[in-house]
C-alpha cells in the first residue's frame, strides 16, 4: 500500500482557456478585500486587507486561514474586490469595440440580415473543423470589418452611430461618451448564438464579462513582501498597485454614497480605470506608466509574463535545477573518453539517493558512519514516510540506529556514478553528454581532450556544468541515450564528432610516417597506453606496425589521408599511408573512426580512440616535439623568388593603375572603371600571395615540426605558414581593399588618391620578418572588423536557431514512418525521403560501393 502511493496516477490531460465570470471570481475567492491597509500596529495582516491571512501565507510559522497549511505548502488563495463602478479591461478593448460596433445598440443583434448571420455562422463552424485557429481568426476579422461599416440595424432599423475609442479605454458614440455601465448593458444584449461571429466561444465567455465589476485579487504567495535588513517590509509591485486600486475604489464608494457631484465621481472613476489598466499592463502606449517613488516603473501582470525574463520563458519553459555543479575544466588524457574527473569537494556536496535494503545494509551504514565530512559519506537520510534528515556529526549516531531497509541514503558521489556534463552554449545534443564520474583531487573538472570538439571547449578558463540524475529512470536514460560513446557520430553530418586533436594527431602522424623503434620501446609505449596483451617479435619495428597492434585483426579499411595519399589497413595491419587528422580527427573528419564504429560498435570505437589518442601523446612526450623559429627558415633562393613574385605583381598593379588613369583599362561587364581596377588589383595581389605560398611550401623543410602540424592537420594550415615566412597578403574589409580613413587616402603617410597596394592594406612582409607600421595598422583594422562581425553574428544566429527550434520541436517520426507535428499533421511521408537516420549512416548514405567491394573481397 505504501509503495503504490508513490506512483503518479494524476496527469494533466488538457488545459482550457477562458474568461473569468463575476460569479466565478466570487466563487474562487476566499476573502473580500475592503481596506488598503496591509498590517496593523503589531505588524499582523489586517482582516480584509491585501495581505489577509486568508489569501495565503508568506511568513514562516503562520498557518493559512483558508486551508490550514504552512508556508510552502499553501499555494495561496484568490480574493476579490467589488468595484464601485464597472471598468473596461484594457486587454479586451479591441474585442469590446468590435462587439459594440458590430451589434445593434438597441436590440443587440449583429448588423446583418438573419440569413447572412446563419450563413456566416455555418462558414465559421466549417472552417473551425477544417483548418487551424489562425485562419478562422482571419476570417472573423473580415466579418467584423464588414459589420463596422453598417449604419443601420437591419432588424429593428435603429440608426447606428460610429463607435470611436479615445485610447486607451474611453468609448465615444456620436461625440458622446459611452460609460462602462452603458457598454455593459449593451454587451449583455448580445445573445450567445451570435458570439462565434466575433470569435468568441459562448461556453467560456460572455461579452459583459469583458467589463469588470469584480476584480480578482491574486494570492499573496504570488506577490510576497520581502523583509529588508532594517526589519522594514518592502511590498511587491503588484501589492502597491492593488493598494492604489483598493484606496481609490473605497473613495469612489464613499463619494457615491455621499451623493458627491457627478464631476468628482467621474474623475475618481477615471482614476480607478487608470489604476486597473496599469495593474494589467503598465506599458500601455497612451498612459504614463505607474511608478515607484524612486521613479522606476512598476512591474505589473503583463510585464511579469512577457519576454525572455518573463514567467513563461524564464520559469515555465526553463527551470532551475538542484544537484548540479560548475567549475573550470582542465584536460586529462589519462581519463577514459566517457569519464569526467570530479573534484572531491564537489563529490561531497552532490549526492545520489540509494535505497537501503537488507542486503546492502552494512555497505550503506558505512556512508552514514562517515557522515558529511568524510569521503565517501552521506548528506541526508530519508525515511520511508518521506521525512528527510540531515546527517551531521551529531545526528549520525541516531541515524545509524534507526537505519533499516526502506530508507534512502543520499550518499556522496563515487566513481562510476552517472553524471551529465554540459558546456554552454548548448547548441546541439552533444553539448550535454553523460559521463561516468571519477572522483579526483584538486578543484577542476577533468575531461579527456578528445571530447573538446562536441563541447567546443578549450582550457583557457572555460567552465562547465555537471548534473547528477536522481532517479533510476533518469540514470538509465542518461546512460543508454546520452553517454559519450553513443554520441560519437554526429546527426548533423553522419561522421565522427569526437576524435584526436592537436598533439595526438601530430604524434600519430610522426609515428606512422617517420619512426622506427626498438622492441623495448614499442612494448613500453603499448603498455603505457593500456594495452596489456602484447605480441611483438620483431627487434626493430616501424610506427605503422606499432599502430597496427591496436586495430582489430579482421579490420579492412581503405581511405585517403589529408594530403590525398592512399591509406590502407588490411587485416588489422596498416599497410601503407599515414594516420592524420582526416582519419583520426573529430568534427566531420575521422573516417577511420566512422568505419570502426560501424563495424565493431561504439564500445570498441571509443576504446580504440582512447588508445590512439594516448599513443599519439605518449609518442610526442617521449620523443619530443617543439616548434622553433628555424622551422620557418627558407633558403635564400626561395626568399629571392618570393620577392620576385611580389615585385612582379606590384609591377602589374602599377600597370593597371596607369591604364586606369589613361582610361584604357578593359572593363568587366557591369562594373565601373574604378570597380574594375579594384577587382584587377585584388586578383593580382591574391595571385601573388598564393604563388608565394606555393614557393614556401616547395622550399621549406618538409620534416620540420611546424610543417608536420600543418600537413597532419593537427593545428594550422599552409596559409599560416605562408603568412609567417612569406607574405601576409591583402587585408580586405567586406571583400574590398581598405578604403577607410582620411579623405581619399587611408593613412596620412600616403599621398592623396594613391592607389598602390601598400596604401590600401597590402601587407607585403611576413610575420617573421615583421610588419611595417602601416601594415600593422591595416592588420589591426581587419582584426577589429572580424571581432565586430562575430559580435553581431552571435545574436542573429541565436535568434534564427530559437525560431527554428520552436517551429520544429514537435516533429517526430511516428510508428508508421511518417514525420508528424503535434497535431498529427503529416510533414513528410518518410523521413528524408529514405528513412535513414543520419547518425546511423555513413555521411548520410548507405555506401553501396563499399559493400560491393567488401563482398568482392570475401
Amino acid at each position: 500500500m505504501e509503495e503504490s502511493e508513490k506512483y503518479v496516477y494524476k496527469r494533466v490531460r488538457f488545459i482550457d482557456f477562458g474568461v473569468l465570470s463575476p460569479k466565478k471570481i466570487k466563487e474562487m475567492a476566499s476573502a473580500k478585500v475592503v481596506t488598503p491597509e496591509l498590517y496593523d500596529k503589531e505588524g499582523y495582516p489586517v482582516d480584509g486587507g491585501l495581505m489577509d491571512v486568508r489569501l495565503g501565507v508568506i511568513d514562516p510559522g503562520l498557518n493559512c486561514k483558508t486551508c490550514g497549511s504552512k508556508l510552502k505548502e499553501c499555494l495561496g488563495h484568490f480574493g476579490f474586490i467589488e468595484l464601485a463602478r464597472p471598468l473596461i479591461h484594457i486587454k479586451f478593448v479591441s474585442q469590446i469595440q468590435a462587439l459594440l460596433a458590430g451589434t445593434c445598440r438597441e436590440c443587440g443583434i449583429p448588423l446583418m440580415t438573419q440569413a447572412k448571420i446563419e450563413k456566416e455562422l455555418a462558414n465559421i463552424k466549417k472552417l473551425e473543423k477544417e483548418v487551424n485557429q489562425t485562419i478562422v481568426a482571419k476570417y472573423i476579422k473580415k466579418i467584423i470589418a464588414r459589420l463596422k461599416t453598417q449604419t443601420a440595424c437591419p432588424h429593428c432599423k435603429a440608426k447606428q452611430p460610429k463607435i470611436k475609442i479615445e485610447k486607451p479605454t474611453t468609448f465615444f458614440e456620436a461625440e458622446k461618451r459611452v460609460t462602462p455601465i452603458e457598454i455593459r448593458t449593451r454587451l449583455e444584449k448580445v445573445s450567445d448564438e451570435h458570439l462565434p461571429l466575433f470569435g468568441m466561444n459562448p461556453e467560456t465567455v460572455r461579452p459583459e464579462w469583458l467589463v469588470l465589476t469584480l476584480l480578482p485579487i491574486p494570492p499573496v504567495t504570488m506577490r510576497p513582501s520581502i523583509t529588508l535588513e532594517s526589519g522594514e517590509r518592502s511590498e511587491d509591485d503588484l501589492t502597491h498597485k492593488l493598494g492604489d486600486i483598493v484606496r481609490i475604489n473605497q473613495r469612489l464608494f464613499e463619494n457615491i454614497n455621499a451623493g458627491a457631484p457627478e464631476i468628482i465621481i467621474e474623475d475618481l472613476w477615471d482614476l480607478l480605470q487608470y489604476h486597473v489598466t496599469t495593474f494589467f499592463d503598465n506599458a500601455v502606449a497612451q498612459l504614463p506608466p505607474a511608478r515607484h517613488r524612486s521613479g522606476q516603473p512598476l512591474k505589473t501582470i503583463t510585464e511579469r509574463i512577457k519576454s525572455k525574463e518573463g514567467r513563461i520563458r524564464h520559469n515555465l519553459a526553463g527551470k532551475r535545477t538542484n544537484f548540479s555543479a560548475r567549475t573550470a575544466i582542465s584536460p586529462d588524457s589519462k581519463l577514459k573518453i566517457n569519464e569526467v574527473g570530479v573534484p572531491k569537494i564537489i563529490a561531497m556536496k552532490l549526492s545520489v539517493p540509494e535505497k537501503v535494503t537488507e542486503w546492502n545494509m552494512e555497505y550503506m551504514k558505512q556512508f552514514v558512519e562517515n557522515g558529511p565530512k568524510k569521503y565517501p559519506g552521506a548528506n541526508y537520510i530519508e525515511r520511508p514516510d518521506g521525512k528527510k534528515k540531515k546527517v551531521t556529526s551529531e545526528t549520525k549516531e541516531a541515524a545509524l540506529e534507526e537505519l533499516q531497509p526502506g530508507y534512502v541514503i543520499e550518499r556522496h558521489l563515487m566513481d562510476g556514478d552517472i553524471a551529465i556534463f554540459n558546456r554552454q552554449p548548448s547548441l546541439h545534443r552533444m553539448s550535454m553528454m553523460c559521463h561516468k564520474v571519477r572522483v579526483l583531487p584538486y578543484k577542476t573538472f577533468r575531461m579527456n581532450p578528445a571530447v573538446n570538439h562536441p563541447y567546443n571547449a578549450d582550457y583557457d578558463g572555460d567552465e562547465m556544468n555537471l548534473h547528477i540524475p536522481q532517479t533510476e529512470e533518469a540514470r538509465a536514460e542518461a546512460e543508454i541515450l546520452m553517454q559519450v560513446q553513443t554520441q560519437l557520430i554526429s546527426p548533423r553530418y553522419g561522421s565522427s564528432v569526437i576524435g584526436c586533436i592537436q598533439d595526438a594527431v601530430s604524434g600519430n602522424y610522426v609515428l606512422t610516417k617517420y619512426m622506427k623503434i626498438t622492441k623495448q620501446e614499442a612494448i613500453d609505449l603499448l603498455y603505457a597506453i593500456g594495452v596489456d596483451e602484447i605480441n611483438i617479435t620483431k627487434e626493430i619495428l616501424d610506427g605503422k606496425e606499432l599502430v597496427s597492434e591496436l586495430f582489430p585483426k579482421d579490420f579492412d579499411f581503405k581511405g585517403e589521408s589529408k594530403t590525398g595519399e592512399e591509406i590502407e589497413i588490411k587485416k588489422g595491419k596498416l599497410v601503407h599511408g599515414v594516420l592524420d587528422n582526416a582519419n583520426l580527427g573529430g568534427g566531420g573528419a575521422g573516417l577511420l573512426l566512422r568505419r570502426i564504429h560501424q563495424k565493431y560498435g561504439e564500445e570498441l570505437a571509443v576504446d580504440l580512440l582512447y588508445k590512439l589518442f594516448r599513443l599519439g601523446i605518449e609518442v610526442i612526450t617521449r620523443y619530443g616535439f617543439t616548434a622553433s623559429l628555424s622551422d620557418l627558415d627558407l633558403p635564400e633562393t626561395a626568399e629571392e623568388k618570393i620577392q620576385n613574385v611580389l615585385k612582379e605583381s606590384e609591377g602589374k598593379v602599377k600597370e593597371f593603375i596607369t591604364q586606369y588613369e589613361e582610361k584604357t583599362l578593359e572593363l568587366i561587364a557591369g562594373k565601373t572603371l574604378k570597380e574594375t581596377l579594384e577587382l584587377r588589383i585584388l586578383e593580382a595581389l591574391n595571385k601573388s600571395r598564393n604563388e608565394a605560398g606555393e614557393l614556401v611550401a616547395e622550399y621549406s623543410k618538409k620534416d620540420s615540426n611546424l610543417m608536420v602540424m600543418a600537413t597532419s592537420g593537427a593545428k594550422g594550415k599552409m596559409i599560416n605558414f605562408t603568412q609567417m615566412c612569406g607574405c601576409v597578403g591583402q587585408q580586405a574589409l567586406r571583400g574590398q581593399r581598405i578604403n577607410k580613413g582620411f579623405k581619399n587616402r587611408t593613412l596620412s603617410v600616403f599621398k592623396v588618391g594613391e592607389l598602390s597596394p601598400k596604401a590600401h592594406g597590402f601587407v607585403r612582409s611576413g610575420f617573421k620578418g615583421g610588419l611595417g607600421p602601416s601594415e600593422f595598422f591595416f592588420q589591426a583594422m581587419v582584426g577589429r572588423d572580424s571581432l565586430m562581425d562575430t559580435a553581431l553574428r552571435t545574436p542573429k544566429s541565436g535568434y534564427l536557431y530559437r525560431r527554428l527550434a520552436n517551429a520544429m520541436q514537435d516533429l517526430k517520426v511516428e510508428y508508421d514512418g511518417t514525420v508528424r507535428d503535434a497535431s498529427n499533421k503529416i510533414i513528410q511521408f518518410s523521413y528524408g525521403e529514405d528513412n535513414i537516420d543520419v547518425s546511423k549512416s555513413e555521411k548520410g548514405i548507405i555506401n553501396v560501393k563499399r559493400i560491393i567491394h567488401e563482398v568482392e573481397q570475401s
Binding site: 494533466v12 518573463g310 553530418y493 536557431y801 525560431r803 514537435d810 514512418g817 553501396v848
Partner: protein, 374 residues
C-alpha cells in the same frame, strides 16, 4: 542489374539506383550477397519511431549558424555577380521574405550557342530604360517640348529602332504629342496643365520609361559553365523569361522563392529552399546533411504556401496556445485563447515541459499499460 522483387520494395530509390549502377558486372550470387548486406545495413540505419527529428534538424542548422560569416557579399572569381551569402541569406530564406536582397536568375539556353549569340540573347533579357539609349534630352522651354536624341549604337545593340522607341514613349506619356524625326523623338506637352514644371517632370519620367527587355532584369552576364554558356542575371522575372522561346525552361531557375512558387509551384519552391540553403552551407564549408534542410523546407511548405519560420508563419499555426505563447508575444496568444475558449491538449513539447510532465517524444512516447494494485 535486375533487382529481385522482394528487395525492390525494401529500398528507397537512391539505394536502388546505386545498386543498379555499381552492381554492374557482378555475378548473380555475389549480387544477391550485396543485396542482403545492403538490406542489413539499411535496416540498421533506419530511423527509430519517436525520434525527435525536428529538434535534431533545428540543431543541425542552428549550430553551424554560429560559425557562419556575416559577410554579405562574396566574390567567386571576378566575373561572377555579387550575391547575398552566409547567415543573412539563410535568414532571408527561412524568414520567407517576399523581397529578397539580391534576386538572381540562371538562364539556360536551348541548344549549343556561340558566345556572340548568347551575348545577343542576354541583351534581349536586360531591362532597358529610355535613359540608357538616350544621348541627350533637349528641353525647349518656349515650345514646352523635349527633344530626345537617341544613341544609334545602343539601339542596334538591342535590335531596336527609333520608331519602336517613339511608340513606347507615346504609350507611356499621356497628355503629349510624340513625333519622330530620324533619331530624334520630340515630346510636346499638350493639355491644360502644361507648364515648365510639368515639362521637367516629364523629362524625369522619360528616363524611366521601359523600352525593351524584361522588367526587373537589371544586369545580365553571360558565363561559361561546363561547355555551355548560360546567362546570369541580377534581378529576377521568371515568368517572362520562361516565356522566351530560346530559353531552356527545364533548367532555368531564379533564387526568388515567391516567384518560383508562383510560376512552378510549391514543390519547386521547396526544392529551391533546399538548394539555396545547401548552397550557402557548402559555400561556407559547413557540413550539413540535406535531410535536415529538407525537413525545414517541408515544414515551410506543407500546406501549399510558403510560410516563414516566424511568429506570423509556421509558429502561428501551432495548435497549442501555450506553445505559441512560449515563442513570442505570449500575452496576445493567451488572451486570444481565452476568448475563443481554446483547449490545449498538451500534445507538443513545451506545454509538457511547463507542467513537468514527460514530453511526447522519444522515450516519453510509449506508454505502459499495467494494472496497479490499489
Amino acid at each position: 542489374m535486375n533487382i529481385p522483387k522482394e528487395y525492390l520494395n525494401e529500398f528507397p530509390e537512391k539505394i536502388i539506383d546505386d545498386l543498379k549502377e555499381s552492381g554492374k558486372g557482378l555475378t548473380d550470387s555475389k549480387f544477391k550477397k550485396v543485396l542482403e548486406k545492403t538490406l542489413e545495413e539499411y535496416k540498421k540505419a533506419r530511423i527509430t519511431p519517436g525520434e525527435c527529428v525536428g529538434l535534431v534538424g533545428a540543431e543541425s542548422i542552428g549550430e553551424p549558424g554560429t560559425q557562419m560569416t556575416l559577410n554579405t557579399f562574396h566574390f567567386a572569381g571576378v566575373s561572377e555577380m555579387n550575391v547575398t551569402m552566409g547567415l543573412p541569406r539563410i535568414i532571408e530564406i527561412l524568414d520567407g521574405r517576399k523581397t529578397i536582397s539580391t534576386p538572381m536568375m540562371e538562364v539556360y539556353l536551348k541548344g549549343k550557342l556561340s558566345g556572340e549569340k548568347v551575348k545577343a540573347h542576354a541583351l534581349m533579357l536586360k531591362e532597358t530604360l529610355l535613359g540608357v539609349v538616350v544621348d541627350e534630352f533637349n528641353i525647349d522651354i518656349a515650345d514646352l517640348k523635349i527633344d530626345v536624341l537617341l544613341k544609334e549604337d545602343k539601339l542596334t545593340e538591342r535590335s531596336l529602332t527609333s520608331a519602336t522607341v517613339a511608340n513606347v514613349i507615346k504609350k507611356a506619356i499621356k497628355k503629349a504629342t510624340v513625333t519622330k524625326e530620324d533619331n530624334t523623338v520630340t515630346v510636346k506637352l499638350t493639355g491644360k496643365d502644361a507648364s515648365l514644371n510639368e515639362l521637367y517632370r516629364t523629362k524625369e519620367k522619360l528616363k524611366d520609361v521601359f523600352v525593351s527587355g524584361i522588367k526587373g532584369i537589371k544586369e545580365v552576364l553571360p558565363v561559361k559553365r561546363k561547355e555551355e554558356f548560360i546567362i546570369i542575371t541580377a534581378g529576377s522575372n521568371l515568368n517572362e523569361v520562361m516565356a522566351l522561346d530560346f530559353v531552356d525552361t527545364t533548367r532555368t531557375t531564379s533564387n526568388d522563392l515567391y516567384e518560383v512558387h508562383a510560376v512552378l509551384g510549391v514543390e519547386a519552391a521547396r526544392q529551391l529552399i533546399i538548394d539555396e540553403v545547401m548552397k550557402v552551407m557548402e559555400n561556407q564549408g559547413l557540413n550539413v546533411d540535406v535531410r535536415h534542410i529538407m525537413l525545414v523546407a517541408d515544414t515551410m511548405c506543407v500546406n501549399g504556401n510558403i510560410k516563414g519560420i516566424t511568429r506570423y508563419g509556421v509558429v502561428s499555426e501551432k495548435s497549442s496556445a501555450l506553445a505559441r505563447a512560449s515563442f513570442e508575444t505570449p500575452v496576445k496568444h493567451i488572451l486570444a485563447a481565452a476568448l475563443t475558449g481554446e483547449r490545449d491538449e498538451l500534445t507538443s513539447v513545451v506545454e509538457n515541459v511547463m507542467l513537468n510532465q514527460p514530453v511526447p517524444l522519444g522515450t516519453g512516447l510509449p506508454g505502459l499499460v499495467t494494472e496497479v494494485k490499489k
